[in-house]
């Protein structure tokens, strides 16, 4: 039982995406150190792809996605 609990990763951070502000530059997807993000197949209202969260449990809340984002559309924070 204890092993199962250990294997379950502790959620340390959270990413929040404002998809309508995104211009699909891929910076956050490319430079996320723990590969939390992937580009969605969908489009936002302006016709850009936006990032979606594929592994929320891997996020450490380092905030690098927000530091790279030129459109202020994404940020990570520790919880």
């Amino acid at each position: 039982m204890s092993q199962v609990e250990k294997a379950k990763p502790k959620i340390r951070g959270e990413v929040i995406v404002d998809r309508e502000r995104c211009k699909g530059c891929y910076f956050c997807v490319e430079f996320c150190p723990t590969d939390v993000l992937a580009m969605s197949e969908d489009f936002n209202l302006k016709g850009y792809h936006f990032p979606e969260i594929i592994a929320a449990d891997r996020c450490t809340g380092c905030g690098l996605c927000g530091a790279y984002c030129p459109d202020f559309a994404i940020f990570g924070h520790r919880i």
């Binding site: 699909g24 530059c25 927000g66 530091a67 202020f72």
Partner: protein
């Protein structure tokens, strides 16, 4: 601008940069993959960590893509005529020496049209921080050659490749007398943020060059791909060499980019030198100008 803190966010968490932006002007006009937005993130992060009161900071920009920054930041700001942000910032600093004056502009604005102001402000050690976002082209006017376009790079006005020797900006800044010179790319967000913080807290003329991609004009003309390809190139081809001699850090077309803090020295600023000189010559007859209290006092560093 009011002295009160920005209003509390309505939802639980907000993008930390938003409190520094005029949100009614967002989304901005910068192209997808442009590096200017990343540098703005670093600047606001540095400003927050430097603990300088918001009312004591003013930001001045010239014309160009980077010149839009003054309009987007929720600080006392001014969008000057082309090439004149340093001239305006000098006047701002002399009228109110308590202000922390930041000049945030592009390579064409600061070094082509405003080159004269840059060299003289650096020579005088005018107390200001100059952040130059270098995208190696005139982005807003259609991709012409600037004084920093590397040799052989194609631009609208050099369809067969640029043949003019470009400026080596850190070398220019150091030889003109800047007390703090650093270069980073828009890929180095953490280092850039720390560097801007150091520059903001340092008295004297501090200069930071930020190499940033221009996917729409510079990269497209030269077949270099999108903004993300430029960022990957920065990741692979940049080398951090703190204290490297600035004469060796010139940028070539798709060459290695030497980054780091190159110069960190100290000498009297223009205001200090003026007060010291006049006090020494005039003695008791010397009186400080109104609101210049504290200018010319010995400082710690």
């Amino acid at each position: 601008m009011s002295t009160q803190a920005p209003p509390a966010p309505t939802c639980e968490v907000h993008n930390p940069t938003e409190q520094w932006l005029r949100m009614d002007r967002i989304p901005h006009i910068w192209c997808p993959g442009c590096g200017i937005g990343s540098s703005v993130n670093c600047f606001t992060d540095a400003l927050e960590k430097s603990k300088i009161p918001r009312d004591n900071v003013s930001i001045v920009s010239g014309i160009g893509c980077t010149g839009r920054t003054a309009g987007y930041l929720k600080l006392d700001s001014f969008h000057t005529t082309h090439g004149r942000p340093i001239a305006f910032a000098t006047g701002l600093k002399l009228a109110n020496p308590k202000l922390k004056v930041v000049v945030y502009s592009g390579d064409g604005d600061l070094f082509a049209i405003g080159g004269n102001h840059f060299i003289h402000a650096a020579r005088r050690n005018m107390d200001m921080t100059v952040i130059c976002v270098n995208n190696m082209t005139y982005g807003m006017t259609g991709g012409q050659v600037t004084p920093t376009t590397p040799l052989t790079a194609k631009a609208t006005t050099s369809p067969y490749g640029n043949f003019e020797e470009p400026f080596n900006l850190p070398y220019l800044a150091e030889s003109c007398g800047a007390v703090y010179v650093a270069r980073w790319t828009s890929f180095h967000v953490r280092q850039l943020s720390k560097s801007i913080r150091e520059a903001l807290l340092k008295p004297g003329f501090t200069f930071i060059e930020v190499v940033a991609p221009c996917p729409t004009l510079y990269a497209r003309r030269n077949r270099l791909g999108a903004g993300i390809d430029a960022m990957k190139y920065y990741r692979e081809q940049s080398e951090i060499k703190n204290g490297a001699p600035t004469r060796d850090v010139a940028l070539g077309f798709q060459s290695k980019i030497i980054c780091g803090k190159f110069v960190d020295t100290s000498r009297p600023t223009w205001l200090e030198a003026q007060v010291q000189q006049h006090r020494a010559v005039l003695g008791d007859k010397f009186t400080l100008a109104e609101n210049w209290e504290g200018v010319g006092e010995p400082r710690e560093d």
